[in-house]
């Protein structure tokens, strides 16, 4: 049996309708009208110990709902989840001892106090013995470069510093599994880089299983070895990153802004490049990385022309989902 197993999980929410009119409001206190929304529907996957899994999908796809069920916050409407032999929503407290959770920008730090003090509190909460605590704290302080702010009151920290401290807290007790919900959201490039490296390092050193949700394709590309994609409550992809990229890379787009003297019309002789859209001096070219590489495309479209600007647009996660969703529907039809 696998380390984490999710079998036929569905979760329904009741959406209550807001009533208008005074009498209706009073009535609605006793019997409210509602409709049922399926947040996730019949999803299945299993994860082995030590895997680093990216869990992605557009907003409202059911990512957070899944993470909440895995960590024991929500009870699934149907299906079964086991995490290292435990059922998280039935043994929530017991399960919580073995996991670490970071929810986006939600801070578990104490506003008035230095980060250090919060660490000490969490040491007691997770019953971490002193030597292990010291070792981990040193390891994380070093890796997350927390030395220069660990003694500062939390209210003076930057977003990135707070996120680093929160991640360190979630890992203080050496959890076997870590759930990270949007760990890099709103951070600058350097801070993102730091956190990505850290997650990889912890995964390698401690064999920690990591499941992270994100909007940022770079997070996935740089650190995960597996990707699960969810849309409208259903899993639409589960497999290696490299395979996913092949499927996704159909739609690379190059945007070129030409100089004033260039002729407006443009004749494409290479069939591997398609003109997608044009707007004055700007043109959008679509190509497939498997057929032609980017350098070739650039040299082709800029040949003998004055170019003011070139922009390479990586496929957005939403676009990939759309594309995959289309593909899925086609499969169903055919």
């Amino acid at each position: 049996m696998s380390y984490i197993s999710v079998e036929n999980i569905s979760k329904e929410f009741k959406i209550y309708h807001r009533e208008k009119g005074f009498a209706n409001i009073v009535k609605s206190m006793f019997a409210r009208k509602y409709s049922i929304k399926k947040a996730v529907e019949n999803i299945n996957f299993s994860i082995d110990k030590g895997e680093l899994v990216g869990y992605v999908g557009p907003n409202g796809a059911g990512k957070s709902t899944t993470i909440k069920m895995l960590s024991g916050i929500l009870i699934p409407t149907s299906g079964k989840i086991t995490v290292d032999g435990r059922i998280p929503y039935e043994n929530r407290q017991e399960n919580a001892m073995h996991i670490g959770v970071v929810f986006g920008q939600r801070s578990q730090l104490f506003w008035d106090l230095p980060v250090e003090d919060t660490f000490d509190l969490y040491r007691k909460m997770y019953l971490v013995d002193k030597t292990k605590f010291k070792r981990n704290l040193e390891f994380y302080t070093d890796l997350l470069e927390m030395k220069d702010f660990i003694k500062m009151p939390v209210r003076q920290l930057s977003l990135g510093q707070k996120m680093r401290a929160n991640i360190a807290i979630a890992l203080l007790h050496d959890p076997e599994i870590v759930y990270l919900d949007e760990p890099t959201i709103g951070l600058d490039v350097l801070a993102k880089e730091n956190i990505r490296k850290f997650i990889q390092e912890v995964n390698k050193e401690k064999k920690t299983t990591v499941i992270l949700t994100t909007h940022d394709m770079d997070d996935i590309e740089q650190i995960c070895n597996r990707l699960i994609m969810i849309d409208k409550g259903q899993i639409i992809y589960d497999g290696k990153i490299s395979d996913f990229k092949k499927r996704a890379e159909g739609e690379n787009v190059l945007i070129v802004e030409y100089g004033d003297t260039d002729p407006v019309d443009f004749i494409l002789t290479d069939t591997r490049i398609k003109l997608l859209q044009e707007e004055g001096k700007r043109k959008w070219f679509k190509y497939c990385k498997t057929e032609i590489n980017t350098a070739e495309v650039i040299s082709f479209v800029t040949k003998d022309r004055q170019v003011q600007d070139i922009l390479l647009k990586e496929p957005e996660i939403e676009d990939i989902v759309k594309k995959m969703y289309r593909a899925q529907q086609v499969e169903v039809v055919s």
């Binding site: 005074f22 409001i25 009073v26 206190m29």
Partner: protein, 271 residues
């Protein structure tokens, strides 16, 4: 000049209307507000009835005077409530009041009219119906003449003006005290003790009456209520109104001086 005044007033009305509308949307809370105001009146009536214990007059005040005082003064109080001191104090303390100076409309006016709008909603739509209901059931004293009522009305407006004068001053004190935590402590405690909202000043011992005499707080609800209940003659009424005007003038001057100092500092600091 007049056109300017008209356009400004229309902006003020707009702000008041907004605040009024926001209050209307919390319908379910409104229902329970009715209940809790009614309940509160009921408690007060029981309390004063128990205190009078069958006596006709205490310190020249009858039980029916007192019950009228409870009802009507609660209405006046809800009109003259203000919590803006803390808001201003916080903004003065952290310097964000500088940003507010850039807006086209006077910042102080804006928050004041916003609050008055919300207060009007609470007083007229929620408190007044309960007052009228109780008044219908137990007969609340009404002013002897239309003139008395008019004078009462004017003194209430003066009272509200005093409340805002005081609140602006409390708020700006933050500039010198470098903190805002004092606000609740001075504004609430002084009002509890010297405005006579909860216990009218008729029942105060002499030494407390004397202290209250030189403070502005009794002019907010207590003195207007004296006019309402006909406890003062025409001469005393005039003295009350005149005192209110003097207090308004004094508070405005103090406020202006303080505001100048704050502004000067903001200009030097660059906001």
């Amino acid at each position: 000049m007049i056109a300017n005044w008209v356009s400004r007033t229309s902006v003020h009305l707009e702000i008041m209307k907004k605040a009024f509308k926001v209050s209307v949307t919390y319908k379910i809370n409104t229902l329970f507000e009715f209940l809790s105001i009614g309940f509160d009146f009921f408690i007060q009536i029981c309390v004063w009835t128990a205190l009078y214990n069958g006596r006709n007059l205490v310190n020249g005040v009858s039980l029916s005077d007192m019950i009228s005082y409870v009802m009507v003064s609660s209405f006046v109080s809800s009109l003259s409530y203000s919590g803006i001191a803390l808001k201003i104090a916080n903004q003065v303390k952290d310097g964000t009041i500088g940003n507010e100076l850039c807006r086209p409309i006077n910042y102080k006016d804006m928050i004041m009219y916003h609050e008055i709008g919300a207060n009007l909603f609470h007083s007229i739509c929620i408190r007044l119906p309960v007052v009228l209901l109780f008044g219908f059931l137990i007969k609340v004293v009404i002013p002897a003449s239309g003139l008395n009522f008019l004078l009462f009305f004017i003194s209430v407006i003066f009272g509200i003006t005093i409340v805002y004068g005081l609140n602006f001053i409390y708020g700006m004190l933050a500039f010198w005290l470098k903190t805002s935590e004092y606000v609740n402590f001075i504004s609430r405690a002084l009002m509890t003790l010297f405005a006579g909202r909860f216990v009218p000043i008729w029942f105060y011992p002499e030494f407390l009456k004397k202290i209250g005499q030189v403070l502005p707080f009794r002019f907010i609800t207590f003195e207007p209520m004296q006019i309402y209940l006909g406890k003062v003659d025409s001469h005393q009424t005039l003295v009350i109104l005149l005192s209110q005007v003097i207090w308004i003038a004094a508070l405005t001057i103090i406020q202006q001086i303080m505001w100048k100092a704050v502004q000067k500092h903001l200009v030097i600091q660059g906001g």
